[in-house]
Amino acid sequence: MGNVKLLSGNEAIAAGAYRAGCAVAAAYPGTPSTEILENIAKFGGRIDCEWSVNEKVAMEVAVGASIAGVRSLAAMKHVGLNVAMDPLMTYTYIGTNGGLVVVSADDPGMHSSQNEQDNRVLVKFARAVQLEPSDSQEAYDMTRAAFDISERTGAIVFLRMTTRTSHSSSLVDLGEDYEYGDAGSRGYVKDITRYVSVPANARAMRFRAEERSKALLAESEASEFNREFIAEGSEIGIVTSAVAYEYAAEVFPDCSILKLGFTNPLPEKRVRKFASRVKRLYVVEELDHVLRDAIECAGVKTDRFKTELSMMELNPDRLRELRREIMGDGSAAPAPKRSLPDFVPQLPTRPPVLCAGCSHRGVFYILSKLGATVSGDIGCYTLGCVPPLSAMDTTICMGASIGAAFGMAKAGFRGRLAAVIGDSTFFHSGMTGLLDVVYNKGGITVVVLDNRITGMTGHQDNPGSGRTLLGEPTVKTSIAEVARALGVRRVREVSAYDIPALETALKEELDVTDEPSVVVVFGSCVLASKRNVGAIPDSVDSAACKACGACFKLGCPAIVRGEKVGERFKASIDPAACIGCGVCSQVCRFGAIRSGKTAGNLA
């Protein structure tokens, strides 16, 4: 049956980019978009690909490649697009040379994000084309088409993914002719009026962008990605897009459906024609009312419903609730009970935690002990907020820890104040914040948790890891040297596993408030460095253990309750989970914990 594979949406985008002859791809890792570039890298360098230091740079690299005449792609999670908006908003005026495709992966329901912003709003704002795949086959087909549309019209084309379309797998027919579709280069010709966005040129660009919008409308009206499924005799019509279409097709098989794949600009005539065939018209979309508002702006009246669909992920159950409301029929049975029978007691939760032996644990333990207020950042280490460590006060967005801590200090905050940020996040957008602190004579302490990897998204390389996306060796940027170059005089490097040294360093630097300081805490990621494999675990001498509970405050999953002593418990170490990092043995005041040995070097 042809060349059919079970692919995730992200794998399908990579395959589509390959087939379309994409020449340059750039991204900063971010769930749920990360696997796009990881899979592009599997084409062994056929597509020049990179982990950029942040999404703005990724966008700029893709824009530059487009200007030079080749097909390029930038991928990012939804909040990453906030960072990349600046180049986007002007390149949309300039218009593409080589096709430029941007993948924006939203995270409805916030599985792994700090907000659930609906980036369809931003795509409209940027006057870009938007294609919304509903499954992996469409992700593949639309990626291929996206490059063609971009080159035909000069528009930037967005593939708007969500966690569900990025991380669901379905069958994709890659076609018998699946191979790299070398699209060559359209070449670069110097044209100052076209590419230099000084005001005089930008005004002309502005008008050209509006002209382009008209051409895009024609593309949208003719697009094969917009399809009608007419249920004869049905009075109800549903306009939908993306994965919401799959839910609607399952829950409303007896209603007419207009499935929009090309959603910006809206194919107004298609919508109007569809609306004329039905008596009631409902818009079913995930998150904001973007589609509904566009349809109503086009002068088509839609029917409203009470069922709340505009927050969190959709699913078939929520659409059944809608069905019960608008069709009032019994064909959708009432929702099944979500609760367990009464004889089942309250179940303990299983939240994500810092790994056993994680290099971030000691820092948070000490910050907690020192009573520091912690301005946190985005990464695995955000889990430092979880009890019993509870050592994080704020988390906003990538890189915000430093600026926000500085702002708190300016507001007159008294007490120990630390900004805590990971290595990848520091390179992403922490460096500028630190420069601001130095320049404006701040006195905060910045703690950089340097585990030499981008951990939370699944171990991607970054400027500190010494390897590129293709695994080639490269410059290993030192965070301490960057800090010194930015003008920080108090810079210290401490091992994450030397608890006394770490405590001394943090205490001293936190208590200096008349100049900025940087403490680089180094210790490689346990998972990425596989130090958990073949380790000799730490162990507790039960006779020496006084059941004081100090080691429990580390919140290490390997330290478990042992023998009960009165109301308290002695500690015990699960040898299957422990990697022998020895942090707990340094925390124990009674010498009851014998330090094991990790496999490989701790730093």
């Binding site: 059919v4 079970l6 769930t31 749920p32 599985h111 792994s112 499954d135 966690t163 569900r164 991380h167 669901s168 797998s169 379905s170 069958l171 994965v243 799959e246 839910y247 097709a249 399952e250 699913n315 078939p316 159950d317 059944r320 929702a335 099944p336 009970k337 979500r338 609760s339 367990l340 029978p341 004889f343 089942v344 007691p345 309250q346 179940l347 303990p348 939760t349 299983r350 939240p351 994500p352 935690v353 810092l354 790994c355 695995c380 889990l383 009890p387 019993p388 939370m456 998204t457 699944g458 429990f552 919140g555 999953p557 330290i559 478990v560 309750r561 418990f569 699960d574």
Partner: protein, 198 residues
């Protein structure tokens, strides 16, 4: 057979759940079914609960299984089996591995464990579950990391997907070095189903 068969796999990060669901998805595709598989990555890698859903049939629309419509629930861990019971459809069946992974909330003393977890489990799934002890089989084979293929083998006995499709899927997915041992684990799992009780 139903139009669409819904399989939900639950457990704890690191148990090989995502690989198992991928093998299942590929096997179903090789058997000629339309397939959709859905899971959420990200924070779940850090020791949290993991869920993966696989649907196969003539044509599958939603990648997400409606609540309470799971035909076969595969629990890689006992507490997760208890937690996810309500996902099962009224006529659904479960495959429960007797592995127990204590959540950090319990081992650290912040929350209390389930008193008589085995009793609760047995009562919940009375007559609807079969049990495996995948770790015992994997230990016998000398490679603990094959425990998920033991579970896959047992699961293969509960679904209308020919065994050779499973084996082909494992062959296509796993590197040569670990292929044979995983196929053996799969075969042990399919032969040994129903020998274990909770």
């Amino acid at each position: 057979m139903k139009d669409t068969v819904n399989v939900t796999l639950v457990g704890v990060g690191g148990q090989g759940i995502l690989l198992t669901s991928e093998i299942l998805g590929r096997a179903a595709a090789l058997a000629g079914f339309d397939v959709k598989k859905s899971e959420v990555h990200g924070m779940s890698q850090r020791g949290g609960s993991v869920t993966s859903q696989v649907r196969f049939g003539r044509h599958v629309y939603s990648p997400v299984i409606p609540f309470g419509e799971t035909d076969v629930l595969v629990a890689f861990e006992k507490l997760e089996a208890v937690r996810c019971f309500a996902l099962l459809s009224p006529g659904g069946k479960a495959l429960v591995d007797v592995r127990e992974i204590v959540p950090v909330t319990v081992s650290s003393g912040q929350q209390v464990p389930v008193a008589d977890q085995d009793g609760v489990l047995a009562r919940l799934y009375e007559g609807r579950a079969v049990y495996t002890d995948s770790c015992a089989v994997a230990r016998k084979l000398g490679n603990m990391r094959t425990s998920n293929m033991v579970i896959a083998g047992a699961l293969s006995m509960m679904l209308d997907i020919p065994g050779e499709c499973w084996v082909d899927a494992i062959k296509a997915r796993l590197p040569e070095k670990i292929r044979d041992i995983n196929i053996r684990a799969f075969e042990e799992g399919s032969a040994g189903l129903s020998e274990t009780s909770v």
